[in-house]
Amino acid sequence: MAEQREDEILGKAYDSKLMKRLLVYIKPYKMYVIAAILFNILVAALGPLRPYLSKVAIDDYIMHKDYNGLLLIVGILFASLVIQAVVQYYLTYFTELMGQKIIYDIRIQLFSRVQKLALKYFDRTPVGRTVTRVTNDVDALNEMFSSGVITVFSDIFMLVFIFIFMFSMSWQLTLVTLAVIPLLFYATFLFRKKVREEYRNVRTHLARLNSYMQEHVTGMNVVQMFAKEKQELEKFSSINDDFKNANIRSVFYYAIFFPFVELLSAVSISLVIWYASGEIIQGILTFGVLTAFLQYIEMFWRPVRDLSEKYDILQRAMAASERIFNLLDDNTMIKNPDTPVILQKVRGEIEFNNVWFAYNPGEYVLKNVSFKINPGETIAIVGATGAGKTSIVNILTRFYDIEKGNITLDGIDIRNLNKRDLRKHISMVLQDVFLFSGTIKSNISLGNSDISDQQIYEAARTVGADKFILNLPNKFDEEVKEKGATLSVGQRQLISFARALAYNPQILILDEATSSVDTETEQLIQNAIEKLLVGRTSIVIAHRLSTIQNADKILVMHKGELKETGNHQELLAKRGIYYRLYELQYKDQEITKTA
């Protein structure tokens, strides 16, 4: 709802700052714009030409009984029609194409910008909101670029040409015709204003109706539990009625406006005929001119209405662009150093020196943590929930930056490394395996063309994922649905192991999943983990006894501090935190193992 409200705010129709930024996107398509304006002028001229031609036909040929002359005019009329039709087609096509291309540019710029935002941004912003920016908001700009800016010219030119033709035939009659024009303008803009108000009103009631329904469908069990169906129905009914009444009110304006415009045109026709009658009788005016004028009256109204619609289009585009620019301007980023140290080969020596870290200022989740991992070592991090285990791996990959202290890789502060470089050497296997829609293969390689199919198969074989994959109908090309819904928890984990292995990193971070799997899968996973850890520096947030027992070193985290360090036996002997954690989390595994 908060989201919805933000999206519904309609501000000014024109904001020069926003407009300037928007126009930057048109620049690459300057030629399109120029061509479109020229074609628009052509189209705008051809339409009003025809009533004029029919005047010529009547006065010069029909009245003089000139069959060939009439045929000539008919031919010209037809030609102008065809030309206008063809030009109009390409005009529509190319302005729309330009609009779409601009939209595309903005969308991609926005998307790649979002890719660079730090995790902090994603922590505080609901995914849905960012998605809306990239999809709906960008689309809302389309209307402005394709039909908005350029057709304004067409409307104005059209009116200008109508006036020119009319004046050239009879300025007196033009004035008579134009007598109702101010009224038409006024009525149209008044109508637009009223409709806009009513539209907003309708939107408000619609939003209320929708949020009521949304909320009560979600909480239907509460409604039913408290047997409030009757009262809720009454409440719904009143909101529903408000919505209906708002709509009926806006129908009222439409109902008045359209007949009124028709009336205006009838009045204009009446005036023209009346005035012309005197002139014709006196021989000042011809019937041809009268016919032409009667046709021009019909032509006025479309450009006037179109112009008034532009206001709404502009307003919507401004609101959307403001939200888009806000996101483009979001600076929640972890910056790369200006002159990064280039990493050629990594040994995998990691050191934390008095590291302090907080997600929110002042609330430290890691306090003064120091430890060193030698190349090729496996360390296990254990601790209760909220002890700070995940934070350690988050800051090592610079998903977040630390407040105090430093972290080094092979003796280099990781803040002096290019993020991309740093992460290239570290593979992370997260507890919630995230699979993308695509194939098994694409989920292992993540689309990296440096990883050959052979390497993919090899990685899958090494972690023991090949058995189930080869049993799938399409094997490695089997489609993976959104979030891997068709695969079991264990299978998803094996795929994520294969992914990590395929990237063959020097450093591996593994957040072991706690979810229980059947014994067979468990055996597979344990074997896979053993294979994964060989020959690289590994940090494991451990939930498996086997992993801990095989680790070179165990770090025991407790309430953000590193409390105990040592191997399994040493730590057990201490009878401290580790001992209790062991009793709580790992001891059972021993029992099931021996059982």
């Binding site: 890719q115 998605v131 990296n448």
Partner: protein, 574 residues
């Protein structure tokens, strides 16, 4: 069926359409006569008569036009309103199972898009069809009576117009669907990317993902342009066909004029009539596609409207039951969510005496919630019987049953309304006393003091966001406020700290003296004082007894107890 309710208005609307069209069709005749009068060099007063008549007729036609919208379109909104009302009334009676199987978004789309499509049909579609149909006939016959041959020539191109509109519109629909699909892909891709941003960042796949998105966006652009190619045809074709009619009239009419068989006035009238015919020609094609959409929407709506009420009073309901005392019994109860799914509860037998406090403990997904959901009949058991005061719950009036049960479920859903209104949600009418009392037991009073407007503070999106614990305690207060005979607390203290929990339980004890309480929890501390504790495992009661008895038993419960003691010890260490 909804039409019937507004039959009179519709008939009136149709009459207005006829009257307005007669007026509109008459205007070109007046123009013709006016011009003819000029041609015959009539006195200005004679012309003036026609001129005034034109304005007057237009005014009359306009008034009727106004009334058309005020009857037919207004009625269409009324019908949509009725339809939505019935839809909602129906939704409220559907059981939880329906909501489990249908996403909120899905239901919302029916309530908004589908009802909208139906309204467009009963309003604009009906209006335009009748309006344009009659107008077409009127104009056609008048033109025919004026000049049959010219009419034939002039209207020659117009059937193409209807055909083109229909052709374009029906293809537009297919192309539009393709665009929507791609747009959905774009949305899904972005959604997936932003949700999986950790993986993308840690494997450095940002550029690849952007490239992928470029590819998808390009495809979207292509599909849009596909539609544009088609839609861009619309105006030019319309221009040519309509323009052709005018040219034919000028040409053929001009020849006839030269021969003296046709007047300027008639030419102008013909022009005007052609102008009137363009819109009907377009709208026939347009309305045809609109009707198709409305049909599909109505089908979807009917599917939901025909969804049976699974849980309701029946012929065996005993309306003499006016109150509930609180004795609960499960006899061989089994339950499954669907016939093809394994049962969640298997032959449960248990008895809870009136005024007792019992607890259910066990791992997540073992069936505790499903078990208590059978008591207020959120679901009906698939086997066996659930009895309250010795009566099968199916025979107790649903209203009576639910009004006497206070249930606090895990979702702790609150409405975006004031806290006070949330707490007294189950009451009819206000009672400050009830609010205070319930808030006091639920340990909510202190929080309320810190809220800007106390109990009148608005919650949810438009107000303040409560913490998990505050939400749980608010839903607890809501359940207590109705003064229930049976209180069910489904894991209601998970976000409440242990000290507050203890205090709540202490106060509840007093409140629940003569009531039956059922507590579901993972925490030993919450359940240990219950009169009886049931340990649920895999849909069965695995152990039952008091805290002491179960510790003695040294089974699942005792193990759980040991772990929780350890956890407590650990969290107290520094």
């Amino acid at each position: 069926m909804y039409f019937v309710r507004y039959k009179k208005t519709f008939v009136l609307g149709i009459i207005f359409i006829l009257l307005s069209n007669i007026g509109q069709v008459y205007i070109p005749q007046l123009i013709k006569q006016g011009i003819n009068a000029i041609e015959k060099n009539a006195v200005p007063e004679a012309v003036l008569k026609f001129v005034l008549l034109i304005a007057l007729t237009s005014l009359l036609a306009g008034v009727f036009r106004f009334l058309i919208r005020q009857t037919i379109i207004v009625t269409s909104w009324k019908i949509a309103n009725d339809l939505r009302y019935d839809f909602w009334n129906h939704l409220q009676k559907l059981s939880l199972r329906f909501y489990q199987n249908n996403s909120t978004g899905n239901i919302m789309s029916h309530a908004t898009n589908d009802i909208n499509a139906v309204r467009s049909f009963v309003g604009p579609s009906v209006m335009y069809t009748i309006d344009n149909g009659t107008k077409f006939l009127f104009v056609f016959f008048i033109m025919l009576s004026m000049n049959p041959l010219l009419t034939l020539y002039a209207l020659l191109p117009s059937p193409f117009m209807t055909l083109v509109v229909y052709y374009v519109m029906s293809r537009v629909h297919a192309k539009y669907t393709k665009i929507q699909e791609k747009f959905a892909d774009l949305t899904a891709r972005a959604q997936e990317n932003f949700s999986g941003i950790r993986v993308i960042k840690s494997y450095g796949r940002e550029d690849y993902e952007t490239e992928n998105y470029m590819y998808e966006s390009k495809e979207y652009l292509k599909r849009k342009m596909d539609l544009v190619k088609l839609q861009a045809m619309f105006i030019p074709v319309f221009l040519v066909i309509a323009g052709l009619s005018f040219i034919i009239v000028l040409w053929s009419g001009g020849i006839q004029m030269i021969e003296g068989n046709f007047s300027i006035g008639e030419l102008v009238a013909f022009y005007a009539y052609l102008g009137m015919l363009i819109w009907p020609m377009i709208s026939f094609g347009w309305v045809a596609t609109m009707i198709q959409q409305a049909e599909a929407s109505m089908k979807r709506l009917l599917k939901i409207l025909n969804e049976p009420y699974e849980i309701q009073d029946s012929v065996t309901t005993d309306y003499n039951i006016k109150e509930i005392h609180g004795q609960i019994e499960f006899k061989n109860v089994s339950f499954g969510y669907a016939a093809n799914l394994p049962p969640v509860l298997k032959e449960i037998n248990l008895k809870i005496e009136k005024g007792n406090t019992v607890a259910f403990i066990g791992k997540t997904g073992t069936g505790k919630t499903s078990l208590v959901n059978l008591i207020p009949r959120f679901y009906d058991s698939t086997g066996g019987e659930v009895l309250i005061d010795g009566v099968n719950v199916k025979n107790i009036p649903l209203q009576t049953l639910r009004k006497n049960i206070g249930m606090v479920s895990q979702e702790n859903f609150l409405f975006s309304d004031s806290l006070a209104n949330n707490v007294i949600y189950g009451l009819n009418g206000t009672s400050d006393n009830a609010i205070e009392k319930a808030a006091d037991i639920a340990q909510l009073s202190k929080d309320v003091e810190s809220f800007p407007k106390g109990f009148e503070t608005i919650l949810g999106e438009r107000g303040i966001t409560l913490s998990g614990g505050q939400k749980q305690r608010s839903t607890l207060a809501r359940a207590l406020a109705i003064d229930p005979k049976i209180l069910i607390l489904d894991d209601s203290f998970s976000a409440v700290d242990t000290n507050t929990e203890e205090e709540i339980l202490r106060r509840l004890k007093q409140f629940m003296k003569n009531r039956t309480s059922i507590i579901i929890s993972h925490r030993i501390s919450t359940v240990k004082d219950a009169d009886k504790i049931f340990v649920v495992e895999e849909g069965r009661i695995a152990e039952e007894g008091t805290h002491e008895e179960l510790i003695e038993l040294n089974g699942i419960y005792a193990d759980l107890n040991k772990r929780q003691l350890l956890e407590e010890e650990l969290s107290e260490m520094d």
